[in-house]
């Protein structure tokens, strides 16, 4: 096994393409993803204001909108159809409509409508506009309500507390800094690595089946199928773990993502995850013995894997079929483990389950690979 590993490392250094796929490409992609999300939580979504009132009140609402971090007033539209055209073309993400007679109707107690239109097709940006506008208008209205109460002689503190008899105190469990950025990264990195670990391993193995090579040489060199397989795979496990470790140093060290769980558990999960991802590639190749077809199988399993992890749309809300498919993919469990152990500080007895699932997946894949290799060895099939 040792000899196969040494031979593999020599191969890795001799072949710039292989080194590029298993080390350079993942590092580059992880750096790319990190810099996409580096700027943090998005702010300053462009909105248009349709101010048909042109009063002190409407101007003060516009100022409040501009002051809200989520939005930024970039356009003044003359009417709703102009505002709509701005939204459709993408110039703004939403529009706030302040009707004519707003201030007058409000002082008369007629409760006029203020309407916020937002682009919900670009849901992430649109919901931010809705939230920002709601907060800004609430603030403007609260100021008005406060001045009415104070006008009636209430003390400022008393008036303030009377505005909201049941205040809602909101707390974020587990992720007090609201860091979706790092949370997204913590899941995107494994997704990309899963693709490359599976495809890269398949590619590395395919080189032993190439022209002028007999895969049985490898078995002879290692003295058995199992050591041959391990010797072939483990050097890459090391390479991918190194890349993963490097990105974790950046994530938890430099970017300061909280790491509030058990390190050994995280490490065990990482090893099992990389192995399982590699075994997907291995199985795809030994079954097809054609790197093109194997890459297609890897693509079908790993490319849509991000959606199944439930970071955007949660797993619990998916159909049972989607949940089951997601459960077969190593990345699903590894990402869950990372979130549990970094943000949620989940107790080990709950968090052990994703690790056990990963072990089960890795073992199942390894058994399938061994069975297929044994079959190939017995029948003496040599790939063309």
């Amino acid at each position: 096994m040792g000899r196969v590993m040494v031979r593999e490392l020599a191969l890795l250094l001799r072949r710039p393409v292989l080194l590029g796929l298993v080390v350079v490409l993942p590092v580059l992609l992880i750096a790319l993803l990190t810099s996409i999300f580096r700027a943090g939580i998005p702010t300053g979504m462009a909105v248009a204001v349709v101010d048909l009132d042109r009063s002190d009140l409407s101007r003060s609402i516009t100022r409040m909108l501009d002051a809200a971090p989520e939005v930024q007033v970039t356009h003044q539209a003359l009417n709703l159809s102009e505002a709509r055209a701005l939204i459709v073309s993408g110039a703004v993400r939403g529009a706030v409509w302040l009707p004519a007679g707003l201030e007058r109707d409000m002082t008369r107690g007629e409760r006029p409508e203020i309407v916020t239109f937002y682009d919900n097709q670009y849901m992430s940006a649109g919901s931010m506009v809705a939230r920002g506008a709601r907060g800004a208008i609430d603030t403007a209205l609260a100021g008005l309500r406060l001045s009415i109460r104070q006008g009636k002689g209430e003390a400022p503190a008393q008036a303030q507390s009377a505005l909201q008899p049941i205040p809602m105190q909101t707390h974020a469990l587990f992720n007090p800094a609201f860091d979706y950025v790092h949370f997204l990264l913590a899941a995107l990195v494994p997704t990309v690595l899963q693709i490359l670990a599976a495809a890269g391993t398949a590619y590395a193995i395919s080189l032993d089946f190439g022209p002028g090579r007999d895969p049985r040489d490898l078995v002879r060199l290692a003295g058995g199928i199992l050591p041959a397989m391990l010797g072939k795979i483990l050097p890459y496990t090391g390479a991918f773990l190194l890349v993963l470790g490097l990105s974790d140093v950046v994530l938890y060290g430099w970017l300061g993502v909280p790491l509030r769980g058990s390190l050994p558990l995280m490490a065990a999960g990482a090893v099992l995850f990389v192995l399982a991802a590699q075994l997907i590639g291995t199985l795809a190749f030994v079954l097809t013995r054609n790197i093109g077809t194997a890459a297609s199988i890897v693509a079908v399993i790993t490319a849509p894997a991000f959606g199944y992890m439930g970071l955007g749309f949660p797993r619990e809300a998916m159909s049972p079929v989607a949940q089951a498919w997601g459960a077969l993919i190593p990345g699903t469990w590894y990402v869950q483990l990372r979130i549990d152990q970094s943000l949620r500080a989940t107790p080990v007895e709950i968090s052990i389950w994703p690790v056990l699932w990963l072990a089960l997946i890795a073992l199942g894949l390894a058994a399938l690979v061994l069975a297929q290799l044994t079959r190939l060895h017995r029948t003496g099939t040599v790939a063309t």
Binding site: L29, L32, R111, D119, P167, A172, L173, V192, G292
Partner: protein, 387 residues
């Protein structure tokens, strides 16, 4: 003209004659069309489970809990004695939020004081957090407003006056497009464009790596290949952009010909980019693996899921070189937002500019390849029969 047709025929033969290219172009369409959208079929997140920690146990606290439970977004599934037990339920992913009503809630309300309640939501899942906060905020605010109106009326105000004082204006929020906030409606139109691009890139780059250096005028060869892609995607593009979205019940507000007008330069730009990718990486396996890994970064660079406002300017500039960036913007605006061609003039011209740029590069690459292969043209025939 005959030379263009010959190049077109050669490319069609190369694409249809290669089982692997064909499987990428056609079979992956089927598989991806099934596997990609599967997680999002449920569309909406309803009745997110929330734990109730009611330390007050009064009529008022029960009323508040009932109102929160009645909201569409959340449902109160379990009671917990204290916060520790509630947090444990959230850690086990059996609930995603906690509504804590402290002791003395009703007493404070009856005394005319402020009586706060606390909502804890699982912030490690973005959508869950939003839904829990939404589901709790509206009923709590409503109950608060009713209490305030009651107090003002007790102090002698008329109902209308009290109401106007509590909320001087009515805030209305109107989602334009995707009004139900469906997750599939949100993500699939953009995802389909990205999948289309990745299959074009993979399939055509694969064919390009396996192609033996063609002989002839490089411009003619490239034009002929472009004609071949247009012929194939005249069939595939409507499937991705019209049939699949319709099968998934996604709305389509746009005109088919507007979508196709954007689709044409998109297919050409992606196909020409594939020629460049193939020239850089050369090996068929490597091309496939690299493009596979790039799919997700391309998606987040496109400015759809992650707003362009938050993407660093340098990266955003790089993102403009990827056809999916303008194509997602243009096609989503046409199909989902009812944009017409003047509304999407920017992405449309952007795609034609990419077509021109990558076209020049592809001709340049072809020129170099033709030059290095001059004199080997008779090997071409034997080479082709192998594939």
């Amino acid at each position: 003209m005959n030379a263009v047709l010959r190049a077109m025929r050669d490319e069609l033969r190369a694409l249809f004659g290669d089982a692997q290219v064909l499987s990428i172009l056609l079979v992956s369409l089927l598989i991806y069309a099934v596997i990609y959208p599967l997680p999002y079929r449920a569309e909406l997140l309803r009745d997110v489970p929330v734990v109730l920690v009611d330390q007050d146990r009064t009529t008022a606290s029960a009323d508040l809990a009932r109102r929160v439970d009645a909201s569409e977004a959340v449902a109160i599934r379990t009671d917990a004695r204290d916060m520790a037990q509630a947090v444990r339920l959230v850690q086990e992913r059996r609930a995603y939020g906690v509504l804590l009503i402290p002791e003395g809630f009703e007493r404070q309300l009856l005394r005319g004081r402020q009586s706060p309640v606390a909502v804890y939501a699982d912030a490690s899942y973005f959508l869950m957090y939003q839904r829990v906060m939404q589901g709790a905020a509206v009923p709590i605010r409503q109950m608060g407003a009713e209490v305030e109106v009651g107090r003002l009326m007790a102090a002698g105000a008329a109902l209308q006056v009290a109401r106007a004082q509590v909320s001087p204006a009515t805030q209305v929020e109107v989602p334009l497009f995707n009004p139900a906030a469906g997750y599939a409606t949100y993500v699939l139109p953009a995802a389909f464009v990205l999948i289309l691009q990745q299959t074009i890139l993979m399939g055509l780059a694969l064919a390009a790596t396996r192609r033996l250096q063609g002989a002839g005028n490089p411009v003619v060869l490239v034009l002929g290949r472009m004609a071949a892609w247009v012929a194939i995607y005249a069939v595939l593009l409507p499937i991705y952009l019209i049939v699949l979205p319709a099968l998934y019940g996604l709305p389509n507000l746009g005109r088919v010909r507007d979508a196709l007008a954007i689709g044409l330069p998109f297919v050409l730009a992606a196909g020409l980019l594939a020629q460049c990718v193939a020239a850089v990486f050369r090996s068929d396996a490597v091309v496939q693996i690299v493009l596979l890994a790039l799919g997700l970064p391309f998606f987040f660079l496109s400015g759809f899921a992650w707003p362009v406002e938050a993407i660093p300017p340098v990266l955003n500039a790089v993102a403009q070189l990827v056809p999916s960036t303008p194509a997602i913007s243009g096609l989503v605006r046409v199909s989902q937002m009812g944009a017409q061609l003047p509304d999407v003039a920017m992405p449309l011209w952007h795609l034609w500019a990419l077509t021109a740029g990558f076209g020049l590069l592809a001709v340049l690459i072809q020129t170099l390849q033709t030059r290095s292969a001059s004199g080997l043209s008779d090997m071409q025939a034997t080479g082709r029969s192998e594939t």
